[in-house]
């Protein structure tokens, strides 16, 4: 008995050590913590003297992780001292982090707002920055114009949430026009589709869900084709949403296999188009299709077109392998680049927006739009 216990205990120890070991490795690799000491030494970098707090809405988001890596690299390149924080999808936590960072003496805030759609929370962040007289740059999740305009040292860098939907709609519409008969498996002249929304009450999810279909329909009807039809005409909502609201591949996979269990080529009602609001859900749907014998990428197999938003490496691989059709890509590096430019502007002139040449800036408000790209 004692031996078994000792074994178990030692396992627990190893587990704890792995935990610590893992920590050190990644800290060095990813630079997740404050490592400005070394960076400021090289002196030449233009960001010298900046000490910023970077607040992310959720570390587990694949796209945000990508942004984080890009930003970390950028800060190190510029010699900016930085401190990353995970809001873990909790707006209250994030506000606490803001206040702590200010108390800690940072001289700029870079915020990926957890609750971007509620002005009260973002305004609280801006007010905190205002009281400390430091600039605050929001990124990725869009905050309202009123909030940005309430403080001359506030700015937003991100995409236009509607744009992704519009671009995806355009991508889908054009693809369908070119390949209409091939996509229309049952030859009834109508393309049936399934839409994976990701989360309720998220502005990006809402816009993407709405415009991807509307814009594709616009292109189709202009060319004399009928509009897209949701695969289940009797459904109360024209989309499927992750029960956990986490845009997860597992939820999309479960939904897709369930859909495929009733809708098939043999029944003449196969789903002919998959639209996913992020890469992960697209990948989950592809896995389900693969299991059912579609989208294997093999010669002669039928491919159901799958369109996603984010355009990260995993979906690019899938597109190259013939498993996915297209994606609207958000540029993580573009985002990091733009935020860094604003910080440098502030450093040099005291005004965030002093040099925004070549950038896509909104009228009347300090908002910079990093364009989406199309992949595939």
């Amino acid at each position: 008995m004692k031996k078994v216990l000792a074994f178990v205990l030692s396992l627990a120890m190893v587990f704890a050590m792995v935990a610590c070991g893992g920590n050190t490795t990644t800290t060095n690799n990813g630079g997740t913590t404050n490592n400005g000491g070394a960076a400021t030494d090289d002196g030449s970098a233009s960001g010298d003297g900046l000490n910023i707090a970077v607040l992310y809405y959720n570390y587990s988001d694949a796209f945000i992780s990508n942004v984080r890596n890009e930003m970390d690299a950028k800060w190190e390149e510029l010699g900016i001292t930085f401190n990353n924080q995970d809001g873990n999808t909790n707006a209250g936590t994030q506000l606490d982090q803001v206040n702590t960072a200010i108390a800690n003496g940072v001289n700029a805030l870079v915020v990926n707002a957890v609750e971007a759609s509620a002005d009260e929370t973002t305004q609280a962040i801006v007010d905190a920055a205002k009281n400390a007289n430091i600039p605050v740059i929001f990124f990725n999740r869009e905050v309202s114009n009123d909030v940005i305009n309430s403080y001359d040292k506030a700015a937003f860098v991100g995409t236009d949430p509607a744009e992704a939907g519009h671009m995806q709609g355009e991508l889908i519409g054009n693809y369908l026009l070119e390949n209409y008969d091939a996509v229309d498996l049952n030859g009834d002249g109508v393309i049936s589709y399934v839409m994976f929304k990701g989360q309720e009450n998220n502005p990006e999810a809402e816009y993407r869900t709405q415009f991807a279909v509307e814009d594709a329909n616009a292109i189709l009807t202009e060319a004399g084709k009928p509009a897209l039809a949701y695969y289940d005409s009797a459904a109360a909502t024209q989309y499927l949403v992750d029960p956990n609201g986490s845009w997860s591949s597992a939820a999309a996979q479960d939904y897709m296999t369930t859909v495929l269990s009733a809708y098939s080529e043999a029944n003449g009602n196969m789903v002919e188009l998959v639209i996913a609001n992020n890469d992960d859900m697209g990948l989950g749907a592809i896995t389900a299709l693969e299991t059912a014998g579609y989208n294997t990428g093999a010669e002669g197999s039928t491919t159901i077109p799958v369109f996603t938003v984010d355009g990260l490496q995993a979906i690019v691989d899938a597109i190259n392998a013939g498993k996915a059709t297209g994606a609207v890509g958000q540029s993580a590096s573009g985002l990091a680049e733009a935020v860094a430019t604003l910080l440098q502007n502030y450093q040099e002139t005291g005004d965030l927006m002093s040099n925004t040449e070549g950038m896509n800036v909104d009228a009347d408000v300090a908002k910079i739009r990093v364009p989406y790209t199309t992949v595939g």
Partner: protein, 355 residues
């Protein structure tokens, strides 16, 4: 008929009437499940087509192992909140070790592709270590499992976040899996020919889940460990004065549960084939819900493998049924929540002591 025998008959009638009532109450969930299934089938006949039934079977198989594991913790009057993150960690580890060599951002480019069996062992071992860690704190320091696993769950999340940042991955989604892995998990076991000429494949993980359920049934009912687990859950003091090693049994129950999460992670890694730090989120809640629906009581010492299977099927039926009927997606939480409450109230009814 004499008066006496009439009385007896009346008594028997009354008795059996009460019995029938009890029988109905005790099987209420199955009855509701069948009625709901018939209802959906009338509305959408495709619901009971072979392809749909196999889909329900597959989904059940995917979610069963985690529930089988967590059930042991519930039998000990505990719970395990670390299950979801443990699934996430082991899924990401499994997937990263079994990416195909051509993957453009292969997380560990230098390891090639490991043999599948080795990765299964690694995943289950990680899970078992996490479980043993939980069990040690529960058994040694008499902490409630809710608190212990609340802590471990957070620790695991950090490990998971750090892990997906490692190598070439940079926090992205781990996909592009090797065929040996996806085939091992998803390749058709065999296909059932459907009426209209198509064939419906049954994925291999269904078989694995059936085997696991059989193994767990064996462990629960036929081994010393299983019997000690139930005795411990039923009355810890009785187990102690009878000479059961309470600490070791507790550690083993949690370690076994952890190994099950490891297995689930391994399967999910290939079943979904897109793994990131989000993978496994809230799996424990579904697993706990399945257990309590299936009659694994939080009172302790009570539970059956068959009940857990029914619980998992029930939850998947809700999911599939809602998708089939196209019910407003906003209502799925309400339906799930109501069924969990109803099931637990039905269960507790048996243990209420009247004063």
């Amino acid at each position: 008929m004499s008066q006496e025998s009439k009385d007896l008959a009346a008594k028997a009638q009354k008795f059996s009437g009460k019995q029938v009532g009890n029988l109905l109450m005790n099987n209420m969930l199955i009855i509701i499940m069948v009625v709901a299934a018939i209802g959906i089938a009338i509305y959408r006949p495709g619901f009971v087509a072979p392809s749909s039934l196999i889909n329900i079977l597959s989904l059940t198989a995917a979610y069963l192992p985690a529930a089988l594991g967590i059930a042991g913790c519930i039998v000990l009057t505990g719970t395990d909140l670390s299950a979801g993150r443990c699934v996430g960690l082991t899924a990401c580890v499994s997937a990263s070790l079994l990416q195909s060599v051509e993957a453009s951002n292969k997380m560990w480019p230098n390891i090639g592709t490991l043999p599948v069996w080795l990765v299964i062992i690694i995943a289950m071992l990680i899970g078992a270590c996490v479980g043993a860690f939980n069990g040690f704190f529960v058994g040694k320091f008499k902490l409630h499992p809710f608190i212990v696993t609340l802590g471990t769950q957070l620790i695991l999340y950090t490990l998971l976040l750090l892990y997906v940042q490692m190598g070439n991955n940079g926090g992205g989604t781990i996909g592009s899996l090797d065929a040996s892995y996806t085939d091992f998990v998803r390749a058709p076991l065999f296909s059932i020919p459907a009426a209209n000429g198509a064939s419906i494949p049954i994925p291999r993980y269904v078989l694995y889940s059936i085997i696991l359920a059989a193994i767990m049934w064996f462990i629960w009912n036929k081994t010393t460990f299983g019997k000690n687990m139930f005795a411990l859950g039923s009355n810890e003091e009785a187990a102690r004065v009878s000479g059961v090693n309470v600490l070791l049994t507790t550690i083993m129950v949690f370690a076994l549960a952890g190994a099950m999460y490891g297995w689930t992670g391994f399967i999910e890694g290939a079943r979904v084939a897109a793994n990131n730090a989000n993978t496994g989120l809230n799996y424990e809640l579904d697993a706990i819900a399945a257990c309590v629906i299936g009659g694994v009581s939080f009172v302790g010492g009570i539970g059956k493998i068959s009940g857990i299977i029914i619980g998992v099927i029930m939850l998947r039926l809700i999911f599939v049924g809602l998708t089939f009927t196209g019910v407003d997606q906003n209502y799925q939480y309400l339906i799930k929540g109501a069924i969990i409450l109803f099931a637990c109230a039905l269960d507790m009814r048996k243990y209420l002591v009247k004063k």
